[in-house]
Symmetry: C2
Subunit: 252 residues, 2 copies
């Protein structure tokens, strides 16, 4: 049997209103849906009906991706789902890594469906904190040495990037965010706005904007995303706003 | 008359298949659509029918945003449209800035619709070049001094971020990308993959993956986005892939 298409689908933050028609069409075309349980739960039950659904727990990414590759090889059109975008801390890279390792890079036709990433969802709810140059850093040191992560935080803060922090805290990683905030305090004034969005566009969504001075690591968890402003970011009417540029001219 | 809602809508890269249902609903609810001509042209003519459409040329962002604020104040539900996401080099920040300057921050109800940003669209077409920590930098020095931009490029390259370059080149800005590539060559090997996507998900879309050694500034234009790999990015089966982490363990 010929291999079937393998789709890597960014679901967006979770709300069906932010699922692109392309992603929806790929989910509908798939016979097999593979993903971390929490992400598969973002898909409406009607959309999953009659499909072969393969879920596993956290940290079993390679198992999931191999299962998806096997399903596509066996002729079942397959969608691997990710929350947010498929390519930002998502599954698209691992799919290509595993296809290469299994010498199947040319054997399985892969299409990536980009999605609304968590950083854009959070930004839209906070106001306009990105606007200008920004950096995304994951605080998870499971696959990256902490020294490297810290080097990136330092570099981004020193060069006045707006800084988005993915995976700020989990049960097993409880000091990394405090360390990141400590670094931020060296490069930003105490008044710099920090925005936190918990479960963007899902039930129990929460947003919080607080000066860096008052922000606590315990405000965040695994389902939160943090945005630390650059030196120009300010709060206006309870929104976190980074002006577009440094040399604002009238009428520009 | 009470002010009407003001929507700031990220259209995604252009293809209707990547327009979120939320964004589509806001466009449909709006009586006035405001945007740069090139972006308004991304919306289907049926969707614009019967609406008051306000377009201006480039660099008239403040005029456009003020016109949108005026329309909403006059009671017309209004959508300001941006390509990609509404908050990444988009219009959301300028809307808040102008509302504040006009002392209208609490007077006009603003909702931001996040979209699939250009960087995710480009990444999906190139393979999986982001995957890990990345930075977005605009090479436009219209509103930001070049020294600041160069400082950010240096910082992101030195800390081994994947680096996405927005606005790499225009008729009036023809040396900035060459300078950015020169900086990249100091921090990356000549084999480092550079991906370029021109008009992602639009007619005449083009993608190009080339080693940094062979990449020319003239390969890009204003409708292109560039992604420079980090030190681990490689090409497999004509895809640009950045592995997820540095400490890959079997079965992780």
């Amino acid at each position: 049997m010929n291999p079937a298409p393998l789709y890597v689908v960014g679901l967006g933050p979770g709300d069906a209103a932010l699922l692109t028609p392309q992603a929806a069409a790929m989910l509908d075309a798939a016979q097999t849906i593979v993903g971390y349980r929490l992400y598969v739960d973002l898909i409406s039950p009607e959309r999953l009906r009659g499909k072969n659904v393969v879920t596993t727990g956290m940290r079993r990414e390679a198992d999931r991706c191999n299962a998806a590759i096997d399903a596509a090889l066996a002729g079942s059109p397959t969608a691997v789902v990710c929350s947010g975008d498929a390519g930002i801390y998502g599954m698209s890279g691992l799919i290509f890594e595993l296809l290469e390792a299994r010498d199947l890079a040319d054997a399985v036709p892969v299409t990536i469906a980009p999605g609304v990433p968590a950083v854009c969802a959070a930004a839209a709810l906070l106001g306009a904190p990105l606007m200008h140059d920004f950096a995304c850093v994951s605080l998870s040191d499971l696959l990256t040495p902490w020294e490297r992560i810290e080097q990136r935080l330092e570099a981004a803060l020193a060069a006045d990037f707006v800084l988005a922090l993915y995976n700020p805290r989990s049960k097993g990683r409880d000091w990394q965010l405090d360390r990141a905030l400590e670094l931020a305090r060296r490069h930003r004034t105490p008044e710099t706005p920090v925005g936190l969005v918990h479960k963007a566009y899902r039930p129990d969504q929460q947003t919080l904007i607080r000066p860096l001075r008052d922000f606590c690591g315990t405000d965040a968890d695994m389902l939160s995303l943090l945005i630390i402003g650059n030196t120009t970011t300010r709060v206006t009417a309870e929104r976190m706003v980074t002006p577009r540029g440094y040399a604002v001219t009238s009428g520009a």
